[in-house]
């Protein structure tokens, strides 16, 4: 590439050549162009964003989608070996039901204790703990907390779908775990989400 500007071959002091002047002008123009473009973009920039799941859109969460199978795209499409999307139980909204449809496979056979015999979570990631003044004899006589073991949950959304209104109180949600999310420029879940429910919002951590 002989046309490229290459380093001058001697150290002789000389006045600015025509080529030097043109070079300075070109660099100045480049600097102005980059600076201008950066300034223009800064005027509409935001602090860095985060990926979130819009519960109004996610088919596993939003009301009005009934008779469907859970959408498991979040579990299978994240670039991480275990998806950064996990189920989260919002305890403040949880009814503490004895027969939680997110915990039990409610269509399985009913056992002698009156409870379903199978669990819904394919990875057994939900723990069911009786709380309050516990009656060890009658399971129906207790409140229960449901804890999600995040090391097992892969965000398949089955429990979330089962708990949503009107069947449940929608206390189980799918959320992007920011401590896990690699914050990909091109979120591979967003690329396949059938509801375009993965959206970027500005992050403003406390």
């Amino acid at each position: 590439m002989t046309a490229d500007p290459i380093e001058g071959d001697d150290t002789m002091k000389r006045g600015p050549t025509r080529r030097d002047v043109l070079g300075h002008a070109a660099r100045g123009a480049g600097l102005v162009a980059f600076g201008g473009a950066a300034f223009y973009l800064t005027s509409k920039a935001d602090a860095d964003g985060v990926w979130v799941i819009d519960p109004e859109k996610c088919i596993n969460i939003r009301l009005g989608a009934t008779g469907i199978e859970a959408c498991e795209e979040c579990a299978t499409n994240c670039v991480l070996p275990m998806s950064a999307v996990r189920a989260v139980n919002d305890f403040a909204k949880c009814g503490r039901c004895c027969i939680c449809p997110g915990y039990y496979e409610v269509t399985s056979d009913t056992g002698p204790d009156g409870l379903p015999t199978r669990k819904l979570c394919p990875r057994d990631a939900i723990e069911r703990v009786p709380i309050g003044e516990v009656d060890p004899e009658d399971p129906l006589n207790n409140f229960y907390d449901y804890f999600i073991d995040e090391s097992l949950c892969n965000g398949c959304g089955k429990c979330v779908l089962a708990c949503k209104e009107p069947a449940g109180l929608s206390s189980l949600r799918l959320e992007v775990r920011y401590d896990l999310c690699t914050d990909c420029n091109r979120c591979s879940i967003a690329m396949v989400c059938p509801e375009d429910a993965l959206v970027r919002i500005p992050a403003d951590p406390a």
Partner: protein, 323 residues
């Protein structure tokens, strides 16, 4: 706070107190802590916070300092060992710690979208990452490629048996990166539904940084690394769309790499030493010089200068940049 934002998404209408909202509020009758009794406390919802914004500032500072160091090491210290140390540091930070995001190569797409789509909000850090290496290129050339870029670093470290790619083949393949750049911008500025960030999708090395990725991309990356044992930095030279931008901008650069500190010997060792075919008639071609600092080790005059320097600062001559 993000939890607040999430809540806003969950219950958008309650503050409006429509009739519906009043009914919804009134039927919110989950058991209270008192109902449950025995001193029960409602557990906290597991909710980690996103990466703090000040970490973006850390990324930006690391980038700026690395660019400055890269330029200083190559143009003043003229020392490959120091550059390799910087390269490894940046590979660890931008590659393995930050897992390949944020990067100027991918930022091409964000910047394109931000210009084309007024609703798209681009993070400050992405703007910074896109423009700073370009501005450095205006002054010094491709300093980003040399010591900072983790994709370049991983290739540079596997380059063990460099061979020279025939000039014509090298030039022909070099056109690919401009085509890739055009395609990447074209895919990025399409309407939201069809938009795709192909640079990120086909990033050959990010899978190694994250230790996971789609199989075909990992195979592609491994193939590039194997090829990279003999062919210097094939991704940077032939595919990298940001490399295409830097190559264009570097043609305007103010200063570049000077291989010989003073009088050339016409020995041509530097041409042989450059695994990237970036030395032409004993001078570094700015658009393709990747700031690897290999040529200094080969230059007899540079060796004399450095030995003299080590012997007690009695230099043969000043390095040329300061002249």
């Amino acid at each position: 706070m993000v939890p607040g934002l999430l809540l806003a998404l969950v219950v958008p209408a309650v503050t409006g107190e429509s009739v519906l909202a009043q009914y919804v509020r009134e039927t919110d009758v989950v058991p209270t802590d008192e109902d449950i009794g025995e001193g029960y406390k409602t557990p906290q919802v597991q909710r980690p916070l996103p990466r703090a914004t000040w970490w973006d500032a850390v990324d930006a500072v690391v980038l700026a300092v690395s660019l400055g160091l890269s330029a200083w090491i190559v143009m003043r210290r003229r020392n490959r060992h120091a550059l390799v140390a910087l390269t490894i540091t940046c590979l660890l930070y931008f590659g393995f710690y930050r897992e390949g995001c944020v990067c100027p190569i991918g930022a091409i797409q964000n910047v394109s979208v931000a210009i084309a789509d007024s609703t798209y909000s681009i993070p400050y850090v992405v703007i910074f990452f896109f423009f700073l290496p370009l501005i450095f290129a205006l002054f010094f050339g491709r300093v980003f490629c040399g010591g900072v870029c983790p994709l370049g670093a991983i290739q540079d470290l596997v380059l063990l048996r460099p061979v020279q790619v025939p000039r014509r083949l090298d030039k022909g393949l070099g056109i690919l990166k401009y085509i890739y750049l055009v395609l990447a911008v074209w895919w990025a500025v399409r309407p939201v539904a069809d938009r795709d960030f192909i640079i990120c999708r086909f990033d050959p090395f990010v899978g190694f940084f994250r230790l996971i990725g789609p199989g075909d991309i990992l195979i592609f990356g491994a193939a590039l690394l194997f090829l990279g044992i003999v062919v210097g930095r094939p991704y940077c030279r032939y595919l990298c769309p940001y490399g295409a931008l830097l190559a264009l901008v570097s043609r305007l650069s103010w200063r570049g790499v000077t291989i010989t500190p003073d009088k050339e010997l016409d020995c041509g060792l530097c041409t042989e030493s450059c695994p990237y075919g970036a030395v032409d008639e004993m001078r570094a071609v700015r658009s393709s010089c990747l700031f690897c600092a290999r040529c200094f080790d080969w230059c007899p005059r540079e060796r004399v200068r450095q030995e003299g320097e080590a012997a007690g600062g009695n230099r043969l001559t000043e390095p040329r940049e300061s002249a």
